[in-house]
Subunit: 373 residues, 2 copies
């Protein structure tokens, strides 16, 4: 159920109710500009992943700086984007089931909509839904390039799906999704470069096979915040799909200083504002943000500006160990936590509280919060 | 943002959109009755924890079977309960901050409201909020009994807070919260029994000290699904607060057969209905329920009725390894997953889909979904 916003425009940050999801607007806007600038002149398109932010207000800011559109993972996310004014959405995922495909096709009356397939029967279902709705859907074939999740082999299996797509009047075959998700969180730049070199070579081979079969394959899309520079430099990918760069979570930040400036160039822009609700010992503070306020699947959150460690989360509590310098921390004090993993953390909230210079400047609805169907 | 329900009354289970949060009503009602029956004649009150279900429709069913009221962890949850018709709510947590205390006190105009403290300054703030609202709040002192989270020592520190509470005209000192959360998930019944024996002895000592100081201490409350039989038998606790027993998650189920019938007596009643969205290999299926559809903090979900293992979750995908017997599983098939941890999983959904004999019978709003302030 939609919760009331925890803040009002003009409030000081320390007046915001907690837990709250804070966007530091200066850092956030810096991150948007950095990515746009980095792609200038490369010929590689930016299609940021909206599964990170779930917010059309943010999607439109990304597009104003040159993004061609956004990616989504779910039809519900695509609905939130299109109804929020986004004109071009690629669902980088398989959509299975007649009801979902009917919803997807309906969106193509209002925006350019793409979807991925890795199965001939599903491709036929997508085509039938498009035909029934009287629309044309962009169709991408997902190929498996090392992640071991979805996707067909980048060989004749991909060619067969591309030819099948090209034969359907209500589908527009656009190319390949070649996402190497497992590479995003590898710790060393050498490992990431090797994984993406492999993915790019598989994608390049598949594209060549498809074009040899007489089907145009204009786009190879993929990449995330952890590796997008590798894909951008690959000469195979011509579209990238990073999501987390806008916020930079604690897990990505652990790669900083590891010989790859990707992670140094983006600033932490997303925080959980939390209140100290118990001070049972001089070295222990308990905050009001636990598993229902932040996701711990990629590790515990960091803590901004205070020498302390977030030891563990229970459902509604976070237990902090305070270094000597932090032991004056009082009951009621507010702390900024840096989420370990931004995407599932954002999905717990209905509102971003946008803050600049310590004042609330914006309250943006997270329109696709909970949009998992 | 509130999402549309994934089902309609009367649908067959296999027509429900996915991912969806399913309550098997026969199992759920069995669980409610079992707990009620078990407490008959013990003199121990049941105050189930609503942080598990976040749904006043469920709370009222628990009260109809004898529960005295419910527990909550957050003011927002208490609001959802009171506005949903629940007449007695104990917030088993510290509430810090003037805005939150004002909201809490306002609820006491419509229901009996209790709250916990572990700090004298916070106790004064609670009393001031009650006075300002012209209400009386039930006040419990949280004592530390082995979990190492919040709570004061069960000694003169607890006595001092009890006396302070007793001196405030707008507070009604009710007793002690002595919750041993760490004991809930201990694997052996001997470990759980030892942890609760320790907690009960500390709580009993604190109660005696408080009563020796001339302050009545009518209630000692605590316990969860993992240990409630120990507290019930302790002769110290006279109220228990289990939450998960209504649903029985995969983590609690791992204790089955370990010499303690607690976990055998409750049935799995909560499931995530998921769709197979990719079949990349004979032994691998990918479902549409990942980190945004279920919480993995206490391990991966189980799978009902299919020989398969949920290997890992990414944000929107779950990867399953299929045993030989399961390899006929088709794209589009629907599976029932058993959440590893019910509380944070429920918090991802807006609706329960209540199912009996394969048909949708009820769709209940999860009114306190996202109510973290």
């Amino acid at each position: 159920m939609t919760t009331p916003p925890p803040a009002q425009i003009g409030m000081r940050l320390d007046e915001v109710d907690t837990p709250a999801l804070i966007v530091e607007l200066d850092a956030f806007e810096d991150n948007l500009r950095r990515m746009a600038k980095e792609l200038e002149g490369t010929g590689v398109r930016l299609r940021p992943h909206a599964k990170t932010h779930k917010c059309p207000v943010i999607a439109l800011q990304q597009m104003a700086l040159g993004a061609v559109g956004v990616c989504c993972q779910k039809v519900g996310e695509a609905e939130a984007m299109v109804y929020g004014g986004v004109s071009d959405v690629l669902v980088t995922n398989q959509i299975v089931g007649a009801g979902k495909l009917r919803r997807l096709a309906a969106l193509a009356r209002r925006a350019r909509i793409g979807v991925c397939v890795d199965d001939a029967g599903n491709l036929d279902d997508v085509a039938a839904a498009a035909e029934e709705a009287g629309v044309v859907l962009d169709l991408y074939v997902e190929i498996e390039v090392g992640m071991g999740r979805c996707g067909v082999s980048p060989d004749q299996a991909a060619v067969a799906l591309a030819k099948r797509a090209a034969s359907k009047p209500h589908l527009r075959f656009m190319g390949l999704l070649a996402y190497q998700g497992a590479a995003q969180h590898l710790r060393s730049p050498e490992e990431r470069a090797a994984a993406i070199a492999f993915a790019a070579s598989r994608a390049g081979e598949a594209k060549a096979l498809i074009e040899d079969a007489g089907v145009k394959c204009p786009i190879v899309t993929g990449a995330g915040t952890g590796t997008y520079r590798n894909e951008t430099a690959s000469r195979v990918y011509n579209e990238i799909e990073p999501g987390s760069y806008i916020f930079m979570d604690a897990d990505y930040a652990r790669n900083r200083g590891a010989g790859n400036s990707t992670f140094d160039d983006f600033r932490h822009a997303l925080f959980i504002l939390a209140t100290v609700m118990s001070r049972p010992k001089p070295e222990i503070a308990v905050v009001d943000a636990g598993l229902k306020a932040l996701s711990v699947d990629s590790g515990m959150p960091g803590i901004e500006g205070v020498e302390a460690e977030y030891l563990g989360a229970s459902d509604e509590h976070g237990k902090l160990h305070l270094a000597a310098s932090a032991r004056a921390l009082k009951l009621g004090a507010k702390l900024k936590l840096i989420p370990g993993h931004c995407d599932p953390t954002v999905n717990l909230y209905d509102w971003y509280v946008g803050v600049r210079a310590g004042r609330v400047e914006a309250i943006w609805p997270i329109a696709a919060r909970g949009a998992i169907t």
